[in-house]
Subunit: 386 residues, 2 copies
């Protein structure tokens, strides 16, 4: 096991009818900016629940944060924060709204001239404007971590940011919110969370027995509840386990003391930036090719994953490892998620070269748990994913 | 799954040669009281490592906190805290030293006249004097939770306390510390952590699939590493998994959203108070009888535990459940831990009645996950454990 440091101060309020509790979590003297997305919360009743809870709290609203939170939209919200002397942010949404709110938390206290520098200069935020979240879409884990990914359409970029000052103060997780989520987005959420675990698990053995088992626990649970959620999002037992699994998949715990990969995300982000493909689907496109391409360095963990998560107990280590990749792809397919780029766009020709070129231009030194993947490897992996 | 709230702000610094890092965690202007136990840290080198790290920090020491931290000893330390204007506490030890430090953290800010009231009046500490820990004995999980158990010899009492103000600010976990721990105490640590999981897991099914799997993960890991640790505490892989498992067994995570029992601890505490038996051993004495006595209400979870943790896959649900109790007792025995009270004392006659009487006198309303166990049930369980 590698040495590690772990801290996660976010307060989780989990369960049925918990949205009203946000009143208790926001300081009485705060001036709050409530942030949300495209307006689905106005149809499913969450907006009304939040507004009722904010009744006695001084607040204004900013809606319209898009999926893949866009820098230019967020800059409008930042102006509002400054003009209205906002002291506290409340994200009501999924990963995009929460990530956008993290950017605003950082940007509100940022001393530099151009907030985009936080992303390009990789500036870690030690202290941001305090914020809470009401999660409306389980998937990214952003509700209990200190990272965010922000998109800038004008440059087709999608970049990561973070820092210890960007943990939500509190996050409210009411599993009932999934009842109104379209199946497509539920499938995305399951795929996203599952991929988060794969990135932190499918590397090489390091003797972190407990972390491995926790990772396997999350994957087993997602596999168990996935068909139930797609069949009936009112199944509260399935919904609550889905929601808590998504949070635990990326709140820092399972990555501590182990090597992590994140190459699938790095390549996937480029597919979203280039084609606008849903984030989760880009992961499902890249993952099978990535694990096949890196088979030799990952086969021990792939075989362990095969045995413990997919109950594949016969054959050689290699047989099991291959079967696990197949099972993973079939799992994504069973959710209605295509795992080939050509199913999403006709203009895929040349994509592998473009992505490799982009990484080269960014002066990038190597992807994956051993930082061993060069742009030419990326090109091969993306090509396999056509 | 039940509704829950979860927060755990303790910073964990985990790994080889991490004790020196405490310098970075203590505020520069702090006046520190370093607390420790019987002096074993002076023999195994931990004292020297801590002193070296405290070189530039204003500090004094208080040693001699006994196993089962004793109120009268702690009151001497409290006097020192007040006379010397201490602002920060540093616990260097196992659960007893850390629990004692939590009492001092609470007592230092307590407004009442008699600090013992914190225990008898069940006063929750919202804010205590800040403190960090250097863990020297994995077992209790106290390094990452906000609870403590304090003993008072004059009244033969052992009572619990806690509150959100009693999380350590930081805890340093260097698995190498177990190299100098006597086998007896290593066996106690494994048993203690394993019992913590049982108390939060062996209740009734509530559909908390992820929490169940996390609990099973910790137990599987403890079972896997236990013989390795007892054979060679220098086995770093085993030591690090042991240490992290003990922390995760009682840092709040696996108890969220599920019913919890804690009757074994309640009865066990009485055996320590009456006979001075090591805490972990009292749990091993009570647990098998407790699970047999409450077989009907616990058999579903016992059978799940049998299948997933002990790989018992044949027979009826009842067969599996019984076999799991046997396996648990055999596991404790394999660590050199006796599971009958009569192996520890010749004066066990009448113990069951005395303990039942004590609970009655405390006006106690019912133990276990359904608060259904009355003093007469306690009497029967303890009698079975003779």
């Amino acid at each position: 096991m590698n040495n590690f440091e772990f801290i996660n101060p976010t307060k989780i309020i989990f369960g049925k009818n918990t949205i009203a509790k946000l009143t208790e979590e926001i300081p009485a003297n705060a001036k709050v900016l409530m942030l949300y997305g495209g307006g689905s919360i106005k149809k499913n009743g969450i907006y009304d629940q939040v507004k009722a809870a904010l009744k006695t709290i001084d607040h204004i609203e900013f809606g319209g944060i898009p999926a893949n939170p866009e820098y230019t939209v967020l800059m409008q919200a930042l102006e509002l924060i400054k003009n209205e002397n906002i002291t506290y942010l409340l994200a009501v949404g999924g990963g995009s709204v929460i990530d956008g709110t993290k950017f605003l938390s950082a940007a509100a206290y940022f001393k530099g001239e151009t907030p985009w520098d936080i992303l390009t200069e990789k500036i870690r935020t030690e202290q941001g404007m305090p914020f809470g979240t009401v999660l409306t879409l389980p998937a990214t884990g952003s509700e209990m971590n200190s990272g965010a990914v922000i998109t800038r359409a004008s440059t087709q970029e999608k970049l990561a940011m973070g820092g210890p000052g960007l943990f939500p103060t509190f996050s409210i997780l009411d599993p009932q919110v999934i009842q109104s989520i379209p199946k497509r987005q539920l499938a995305n959420g399951i795929t996203d969370a599952f991929s988060h675990v794969l990135e932190q698990y499918l590397t090489y053995p390091i003797g972190a027995l407990l972390q491995d088992r926790f990772a396997e626990s999350i994957m087993q649970t997602l596999i168990e509840v996935a068909p139930k959620i797609l069949k009936d999002p009112k199944d509260y037992e399935a919904a609550s386990n889905f929601m808590w699994s998504c949070t635990m998949a990326l709140n820092g715990l399972i990555q501590k003391g182990v090597p992590t990969d994140w190459a699938v995300h790095a390549m996937g982000h480029e597919l979203t930036a280039l084609f606008g493909i849903d984030h989760a689907r880009t992961l499902a496109i890249i993952a099978p090719s990535h694990y096949q391409y890196n088979f030799e360095t990952k086969k021990e963990k792939l075989a362990q994953y095969a045995e413990r998560v997919w109950q594949i107990n016969s054959g050689s280590l290699e047989d099991k490892a291959y079967a696990a990749i197949e099972k993973t792809e079939q799992f994504f397919n069973s959710l209605g998620i295509d795992t080939k780029l050509s199913k999403y766009t006709k203009d895929y020709d040349g994509t592998a070269e473009i992505i490799a070129q982009r990484f080269t231009e960014r002066g990038w030194l190597g992807l994956g748990e051993r930082q061993a993947l060069k742009p030419e490897d990326v090109e091969s992996i993306v090509l396999m994913a056509y």
